[in-house]
Amino acid sequence: MSKIGTKENPLRVAIIGAGPTGFYTAEHLFKRKDLAVEIDMYDSLPTPFGLVRAGVAPDHQKIKSVTKLYTRIAQKPGYRFFGNVKFGKDITLENLQDHYHQIVFCTGAQTDNYLNIPGADLEGHHPATEFVAWYNGHPDFRDRQFDLSQEKVAVIGVGNVAIDVARILSLSHEELAKTDIADYALEALSNSGVKEVHIIGRRGPVQAKFTTPEVKEIGELEEADVFTLPEEMELDELSQKELESTADRGTARKVELLKSYAENKPTGKPKQLTLRFLVSPVEMYGDDQGRITGMKLVKNELYATDAGTLRPAATDQFEDLEVGLVFRSIGYRGVPLPGIPFNQSWGVIYNEEGRIIDPETNKPVVGEYTAGWIKRGPSGVIGTNKPDALETVEKMMEDLKAGNYLHPSQPDAADALKMVEERQPDYFSFEDWEKLDEIEVARGEEENRPRVKFTTVKEMMEAVGKQAAEPVV
């Protein structure tokens, strides 16, 4: 029997997760010279592309153009997509071990970090990640309810997700109608009562994580004036030093822009977007119905850690901020997968450079790998996952050469297909996705939008002519 990885005996890889990381992993595998590989990519959603579809803001179409690359990868011979197939529910680890030599988990970070302060359980406090998934038409979140009749909204966090949420809440109907935002969200936001949006950052403008293009963007909104507070724009000594020594030109430009917003005067636009710095929420207030009415903020000062990072320390000065709707945007968090060793404190799979490790023995688990946010933690831009996936693929190739891989009882591609057909007859192929894509784009053309998204699995199945085998939401 010839070696695994040759034309007679191709390497069979299962990739769990069809987001950017899954595709970069596939790309690196296909690029290897002298390697014959067959890749089956699974996703719990019928549609591929992960956060590019469900996370990137609807008015950031250019960022989404990366899907052209992923589509080219999907069209390579040896690639198959199985959408609407959930690991742990439709297929198990044992199923994968029966059919593949190597398995790579690229499931990303499905949940968010909790804010542990009194009142955090009040109604009206939501994770930004759910709001984003909702307005992007993610089928699992399309039925979430957000009280957009509230006039005053707070977004806790100063990363790109936070600024996306604040911007989406501040866009005019005309600005939103040009995007691929979910229809129901377009309607809800166009009728929203939101007048004031407050972005809350616990450190200063030099440390804020949102990037310069996003800061520039919020200064150019049709219906919202943007402000920062002059006293919060005065840099402390440590921040000034950091700006001069470690920061790059982009950060300098970002701080300049933020400072300029302190000089803005109201121009009569219907909405106000205020960026607050050096404040942390310490308590949320509620009314008799358990609904949020405001937050207590503590003012912070910055200090330097041993290693030079500027961190916030609370002072004894407080202020109250009246708000009726709060989105916390303080980071995504990974969710454990059944049967896969999970590091609870980091929120990632136990791994060493992408090889999944058994924490009891500290030894790699044969045939199991991970890449992306579930390997390293949720940070970085889309492209950050490309070198990350490469590291994992290099380990996979080392192990292949050394003979450390699974020995599936049914390595034939046709058997894997049969397995999927039996366990999830309603799976979506890449061709099914392309059909959906075509319809979405056509629907969008009628309304001058990039696309009009399907937002339930049922609609998607009907659109590609699938009959549900069992009741489907």
Partner: protein
């Protein structure tokens, strides 16, 4: 990017040594694991110092037989430590300014892992590659 991102994918076996061990033992460990520094812990597994190649070299030129000295006599006691929330850029800057190459990351007194200048370089390189790739994609998209 926080250093916790580096630790998340790093080998979990932290190589430690006691102050009472000999430099001979320390050298054996450095060679065996191909690393540049050892975290020195007491019996309660608390961080009490760090022993780096530079510490050994500096002492070796002024004593007759460094092999028989205790780790505790040669190690650096005032260790600069990091926390999981420390940021890559700041760590890189501090390592450069203060000329050290290994940063133990602690939570209270417990050592979670160690970040080396090599780890920092790799993380920076990958972060830049990622940003460039993302920007290139957008620029090419502009061209239609």
């Amino acid at each position: 990017m926080n250093v916790s991102r580096i630790l998340a994918a790093k080998p979990t076996n932290l190589v430690t040594i006691r102050p009472s061990n000999l430099i001979r033992d320390a050298l054996a460990l450095l060679a065996q694991y191909d690393i540049g520094a050892l975290v020195v812990t007491n019996d309660a597994n608390e961080l009490v110092g760090i022993l780096s190649e530079r510490d050994i070299v500096r002492r070796a030129v002024i004593v007759d037989d460094i092999m028989i000295l205790n780790v505790g006599e040669v190690m650096t006691k005032n260790v600069i430590v990091g926390v999981p929330q420390d940021e890559l850029m700041n760590v890189a800057h501090t390592m450069t300014e203060r000329r050290f190459r290994h940063l133990p990351i602690v939570e209270g007194k417990r050592v979670l892992g160690i970040v080396s200048i090599g780890d920092v370089l790799k993380a920076q390189r990958d972060a830049y590659r990622g940003q460039i790739d993302t920007l290139e994609t957008q620029v090419m998209a502009d061209k239609g």
